[in-house]
Amino acid sequence: MNKRLEMKNLYKLDNIHLNYHVNGNDIKVLKNINFVINKNERVAIIGESGSGKTSLLMLMSGLEKPTTGSIFFNNENLSKISEEKVTQIRRKKIGLIFQQFYLLPNYTSLENVMFPMQINNIKNEKKKANLILSDIGLAHRKNNLPSELSGGEQQRVAIARAISFNPEVILADEPTGNLDEKNTELVSDLLINYSFKKKISLILVTHNMGLVKKCDRVIKLFDGSIKV
């Protein structure tokens, strides 16, 4: 029974603390964080600026190690395994989306979307990338460089890139933070729809209430702790 339940767990955070050491002082950024996220679940993380949302995402993507506590991803303890292994997991199973889009600057939209598939040895990457790009309505922009795209278009390409290799989870840090109302709508729908369609879990940090409402669950952070 217990084991079956764990199988459904995507993330399990166990008594997480994160301190930053600055000029001899410890800054407590995250305090006693415990939660579980199931597969195919959509979770919004909200909280004031500086409450530790980004830090939490960084822990969950394996880019940062907690000061104490464990993060289990598919039952693997991210805080224990090697840097290399974490990189492999991220490459195969985690898609990241940033507020600033961060597409590869000299790569066209198509090349950007193809890239994760190439490094994951996924076949027919060009065909698949083309499909996704027409799906998000950017087929006509596929040969443009990021600098030739609008912010909304760039973020859509970033989403296409993040889902292209069928990760288990997408971690997005304020994906609509830099977008206007119309593009916020577009990008939010894209994220949620793909999450349902491809059964990809979605964990996002956002201030946009519309997007929060579309999620299954909300985690509220206040000054580094979960507020119930």
């Binding site: 840097e83 600033q100 600057p105």
Partner: protein, 829 residues
């Protein structure tokens, strides 16, 4: 990522970085080009000299005597085992009918000449004619031009008429040294009437021998002939090699500087590339590429560039050298057969890969410092080049390997090592200078001026980068200043005019009974001519303090010439006015029974001779011993009469002797020696200005090559330095962008840039100038034996040029934000 995918990615990245790669490519290419040319020259010239040395000697061995022909019986004995050609060489004046005349080295040949090699003459049959038709002569091209001669015209050698039947293009047996002066060929049968037995003729009898078969040896009776000198092809190649080694050594030092400078350039270029691509590398990492993957990508790109560079450089230098070969090396009689040799190519490749591991790998390892986390926090953590202890150890080992292999491959390992030592010492100097600088900057507080504030802050923040730049610049500028001062010194020496009181002519071979006639003739030419006539004999040093001279002094010693071959010796009642006494006393005029000597004090120093030591001479077959009485300071560069040895006159005047004379005319251009030479046909002269012109011409050619190559290195240096400067510029794009947004004007930012670079570069320029002045002083006075001279305009020009390049580079690398476009800011965050 599997291999084909990775390869695709690799090619794509290579293509996207094209423009940056070409920049780096150029500096590395040029330095490797110089280096591979040196390697090729080194390998080929030596081999070629070895192969050619038999031809250069004119046989399997050469016997030579001064003054007299070989004993006939002995010659016949030799003929049983050898083919022999006899060549008598002497100096004489040839006179055209138009009264023009010229000092020439005459070669008297027999029917067998040349035994090896080919004499190339024009018209082709004229060498044959020379051997059959009496009183004919072949002269060289310059003589033909200078004397305005046509084929078939008559010239006079002493007073004997000769018909010019052809022109010499090249002779095989130049004996290891290219011929400076003009030369002519006559046949033995036309030789009888000529007088060649005076000291001014510098006569030499040479017998070139070719073995009848391989195991023939010289007969044992040879030991009877004491004045016989035997030369083998190796001896010839030794001489030529020594001369060329110096030049190649110079080239290889230059190439080492070039390699190091371009390596530093590669390092800076990679660093600026990484700092411009931090964001991209972070993104690649966020997508799941590991540091290892990304490093492998850039490692392989850099290696590929280096391999391609080496290949291009090697092939281009092959082409370059075969081109130079035809135009420049011909006068050395060396025909290089350059071709692609895998061994040479591997040497070049080896060094370029060493450059990679020394300069690129440590920089590329900075990739580890780039964090994906920066993408969340969204700002650039600027890269700092902090080498780990491990990579410092790695680099030091590689540097040692580099120096070691460079030295053992070089013709002069020790000198090369000293050069590297100097290089390392100054690198450390600049390293500590940069650290000292940071300490000073940290001490500066409470500045009000905003420019000072920002400028100092910047220098502090980018401190590790600044120390790289200070080192690059310091080493680079030191080399540049040094090369500049060196070439200005050589240039000055070459162009220094003949000393004011130097004579115009040296006349040699005047016999005792001809002195009056000679003086009278000179006065007839110019009544006011200043002439000095001194007696002269020729002698060979047999022993010094009863030891063989070669046991006392090594061949490498600067004064080896003193004991080698015949010495011309004079005597004098009074100490010569241009040779002040430095030790001992001048002689009294009453001791006519003992031979007393006065020596050049430099020579005496090198031979470790003291007053009271004895030297035994062989003078015209008799052994005569003398006691050293005093030392004189002899400056041969005053171009007046200078003898390394003087005898006391009371003793020496009893020895059969002849005279030499220097003459300084009122106006040297208007002089016509026609009459004098007709009356005194056997005397010989050296015209100083001609002689100097020829020497200068030759040295100038070398200088031009050297300046060209140094110039190339200077150019590389500038490119590298300007790249280093633009690294800082690029790093500060963001900061300056913010300054612009905050309302800093264009001019303010420019001021800031200039202010920063001035406090960074001024101390570097000054200290590199000081170091190179000191070093060049020691280098020039000890290696070149000339008076060091400093002309401020050279470093001034270099500095101005440098500052110009600096400003242009800074403005170019900063143009992005000086004329910035707010739109781009809004677009990409």
């Amino acid at each position: 990522m599997n291999f084909p995918k990775y390869f695709q990615f690799f090619i794509k990245e290579l293509n996207k970085n094209r423009s940056k790669i070409t920049k780096v490519f150029f500096t590395i290419f040029v330095s490797l080009l110089i280096f591979s040319s040196v390697v090729i020259l080194e390998n080929n010239i030596e081999g070629e000299i070895k192969n050619n040395s038999r031809v250069l000697l004119g046989g399997d061995l050469e016997l030579s005597t001064k003054n007299e022909a070989l004993d006939l019986n002995f010659l016949n004995e030799l003929k049983e085992n050898f083919l022999i050609t006899e060549v008598i060489e002497f100096s004489s004046i040839i006179r055209a009918e138009n009264e023009k005349n010229k000092a020439t080295r005459i070669k008297v040949i027999d029917n067998f000449y040349p035994l090896v090699g080919r004499a190339i003459v024009e018209p082709p049959g004229s060498l044959k004619t020379l051997k059959t038709k009496p009183n004919t002569i072949l002269i060289d091209k310059t003589s033909q031009k200078n004397l305005g001669l046509k084929l078939g015209e008559i010239i006079k050698l002493q007073n004997t008429p000769f018909e010019v039947i052809g022109v010499i293009k090249s002779l095989p047996d130049i004996g290891g040294f290219f011929v400076f002066g003009d030369q002519a060929l006559i046949h033995k049968s036309s030789f009888r009437d000529l007088k060649i037995n005076n000291l001014g003729s510098f006569v030499g009898f040479k017998y070139k021998l070719v073995k009848a078969d391989n195991n023939k040896k010289l007969p044992s009776s040879i030991s009877k002939y004491k004045n016989l000198e035997i030369k083998y092809p190796e001896d010839v190649s030794q001489n030529l090699k020594k001369a060329i080694e110096n030049f190649i050594y110079f080239l290889s030092i230059i190439s080492a500087s070039a390699i190091i400078i371009s390596g530093i350039g590669l390092k800076n270029a990679l660093f600026s590339f990484l700092s411009n691509n931090q964001l991209k590398i972070a993104i690649l990492k966020s997508l799941g590429l590991s540091s290892q993957n990304i490093k492998a990508l850039y490692y392989s790109q850099t290696l590929l560039v280096l391999i391609f560079c080496s290949l291009c450089a090697y092939i281009s230098s092959l082409v370059l050298i075969s081109f130079i070969d035809q135009s420049l090396l011909n006068f050395l009689k060396i025909e290089l057969k350059v071709k692609f040799r895998i061994y040479e190519y591997l040497i070049i490749q080896f060094f370029s890969i060493l450059i990679f591991f020394m300069f690129s790998k440590p920089v590329l390892d900075v990739i580890d410092q780039i964090k994906v986390a920066d993408l969340f926090r969204n700002f650039d953590t600027h890269l700092n080049l902090n080498y780990s202890r491990r990579s410092i150890l790695e680099i030091s080992t590689l540097v040692l390997i580099f120096i070691f292999s460079f030295c053992i491959l070089n013709v002069k390992p020790q000198q090369t090592a000293i050069f590297f030592l100097f290089f390392i010492v100054i690198s450390f100097f600049y390293f500590f200078l940069s650290k000292f600088y940071i300490v000073i900057l940290n001490k500066i507080k409470n500045v009000k001026n905003i420019f000072f504030k920002i400028g100092i802050k910047n220098l502090r923040v980018y401190s590790s980068l600044n120390s790289t730049i200070i080192m690059t610049m310091g080493v680079g500028m030191t080399v540049l200043f040094f090369l500049g001062i060196l070439s200005s010194n050589i240039n000055k020496e070459l162009n220094s005019s003949i000393p004011e009181n130097a004579p115009h002519y040296f006349f040699l071979g005047i016999q005792k009974n001809e002195i009056n006639l000679f003086s009278q003739q000179i006065r007839q030419i110019d009544f006011q001519a200043k002439q000095i006539i001194v007696p002269m004999i020729s002698a060979r040093i047999e022993t010094i303090n009863n030891k063989k001279p070669k046991e006392i002094i090594d061949e490498k010693n600067k004064s080896f010439w003193f004991i080698n071959g015949e010495r011309r010796i004079s005597w004098s009642k009074e100490p010569p006015s241009n040779n002040p006494l430095v030790k001992g006393n001048w002689w009294n005029s009453d001791q006519s029974n003992t031979l007393e000597l006065s020596l050049d004090h430099k020579v005496a120093n090198d031979l470790k001779l003291e007053i009271g030591d004895s030297i035994t001479f062989n003078i015209y077959g008799n052994s005569v011993s003398g006691i050293i009485k005093n030392f004189r300071k002899v400056d041969y560069r005053d171009l007046n009469i200078n003898f390394a040895i003087l005898f006391n006159p009371e003793y020496a005047s009893k020895i059969p002797h002849e005279f030499m004379s220097t003459v300084k005319f009122k106006n040297d251009d208007a002089v016509n020696l026609g009459n004098l030479l007709k009356k005194l046909p056997a005397i010989n002269y050296i015209k100083l200005s001609d002689y100097i012109k020829k020497t200068k011409n030759f040295l100038n050619k070398l200088l031009i090559v050297s300046i060209l190559i140094s110039g190339l290195v200077i150019l590389i240096g500038f490119i590298v330095i300007s790249n280093a400067v633009s690294v800082i510029g690029n790093l500060k794009v963001y900061q300056n962008l913010v300054l612009r947004i905050l309302g800093f004007e264009k001019s303010n930012i420019m001021k800031l840039i200039i202010f920063e670079s001035l406090i960074l570069f001024l101390p570097v320029i000054i200290s590199s100038l000081l170091i190179s002045i000191t070093f060049s002083y020691f280098f020039i006075s000890s290696f070149f034996n000339i008076d060091w001279y400093f002309n401020f305009s050279v470093p001034l020009i270099i500095s101005i040029f440098f500052l110009f390049v600096l400003v242009v580079t800074l403005l170019l690398s900063n143009r992005k934000y000086i004329n910035f476009n707010a739109y781009s800011l809004l677009k990409n965050g």
